[in-house]
């Protein structure tokens, strides 16, 4: 009951904010609605018992990504960058060429297949009703990260370090 209410609230927040992101003209407002949507997704994780993932979602997106987006929007024009009324179909040719549409289509197909795969197990999962008591996932995630998935963990950390060093090099003032 409690979880259902929480789920409905989070889902409503996610969906309504996501729609508002698309319909708002002001790009700054879009960023803020995106913030609401991302917090809603954190709530969805929390209702699924994934406490660590939920908090990480808030940490990464609210604390990092959205502030970064706000900075980027503000430094590139901010509220002057108000989109004009436009139809999606009219803009289709300007969004890319055959190559980008091909790659996009491929990604869409892969996404669709993975989602179908995931959703096909939904019926079995719905059988397991939870009474609202979850066990902590922090220890499990920690153990899995340094034992089973240590290669993926290390590779992604190397990738992030590379991005960090690259950003520092690009931002560094050049010596004449």
């Amino acid at each position: 009951m409690f979880l259902d209410i929480l789920f409905l609230g989070s889902a409503l927040l996610t969906v309504v904010s996501a729609i508002l992101v698309l319909t708002t003209r002001n790009i700054m407002h879009s960023c803020i609605f995106l913030l609401g949507s991302l917090i809603g997704i954190a709530g969805l994780y929390a209702t699924l018992g994934a406490d660590f993932v939920a908090v990480t979602q808030v940490m990464v997106y609210v604390g990092g990504i959205v502030i970064l987006m706000l900075f980027a929007v503000m430094l590139t024009g901010g509220k002057d960058f108000v989109s004009k009324a436009q139809s999606l179909l009219g803009l289709m040719p300007t969004m890319g060429n055959a190559w980008s549409y091909g790659v996009g289509g491929l990604v869409a197909v892969v996404f669709l297949l993975t989602n179908v795969q995931l959703l096909s197990r939904l019926g079995a999962m719905a059988q397991k009703k939870n009474d609202g008591s979850f066990e902590s996932t922090v220890n499990k995630i920690g153990h899995l990260l340094v034992k089973d998935h240590v290669l993926a963990f290390e590779l992604s950390s190397v990738l992030l370090l590379g991005a960090l060093v690259g950003a520092a090099i690009i931002a560094r003032p050049r010596k004449q």
Binding site: M1, F2, N26, M28, H29, I32, L35, D51, F52, V55, T56, V58, M59, V62, G63, G64, V66, I67, L70, F71, M74, G78, K79, S133, F134, E135, S136, V138
Partner: protein, 371 residues
Amino acid sequence: MNETVVTYLAQYEFFDYLTAFFGENSLLLTTIIFFVFAGIFVAVAATIGGLGTYAERKISADIQMRMGPNRVGPFGILQFLADGVKMITKEDVMPRTADKFLFYLAPLMCLVGVFATLAVFPVSSGFTLVDLNVGVFYLIAISSLVGVGVFLGGYASNSKWSMLGGMRGASQIISYEIPVTISVLTITLLAGSMSFGNIVAKQEGFLTNWFVFHNPFAFIAFFVYFVGALAETNRAPFDLPEAESELVSGYHTEYTGMRFGFFALAEYIEVFVVSGVAAALFLGGYNLPVKVEIDMIPIQLVQISIIVGKSLALYYVVIWVRWTFPRLRVDQLMSICWKYLTPIAIFNLVGCAIWMVVFKGQSMAQLLMGH
């Protein structure tokens, strides 16, 4: 696993009457208890924030050999109520070119981000609203809403000073989050848990069991955390976002009345929260100096007064620092964060990990006593 105030109250007899009235495992009862306790927490925090403004003025007056507020009430202690009434009755001015929606939203975001941290604030072993397994992490994550609020306040005002203040605020908050988070991670490593309840329970006993004296690295981590927390709450010497000699008053220049009051209140409550977190993580939290087995309500009240006392002592230090040190320049601010605090914090983390392996988790005191 997640201990809440409801599970604590459930062990008392009077809870049986409540369950008899509402029914077993009643959602309504749980909701009512949470609402009541959240209301108490918010009210107390707001009062502490209000008294914080009074303390700030009184202590600064003391340091500068002035009298400070002394008209309203005994020793001027009701000054914050008078200020509150003044702010509510003031005209609410909105700049014509401001972004209305964001202008209204920004102070609320600051306040929500601060109040949300109170959910895991460890006041005592029983009355903590909820002792999440990811408590410390949650606190760090949700308090970053304040950064968004500061930035939006600066942006939405559509004024140069506000804009500069907001940008400084946001960049400062996200920069100093890194050394603060790594210092907190050091303590998580020592305690082996991210829940405030477990971290405080690990420091049970006298002063020597506090994590700040656990090993030299944790000792340094405390100071790194404290400096970072000063910067994250925009307190002097890191108050560049509201540097009054350069930016009028930074991101809240255009705000009047109670909207300005929200920003100020959020700042003072946040100072209290980060002081309390420092007390809980490093200074033994709500533990009594002697071991008590009974878990009664009077003991809980003693615990609450202990953590509030420790927090207020740190609060005093924060105010004292503000009126003692000059403000930093922007480049100094960034070089302190990235060239000093962050490497020191990472060094502490590695040092603590090595200490835990070499000495099998014993503290300095235990090693000296020779256990």
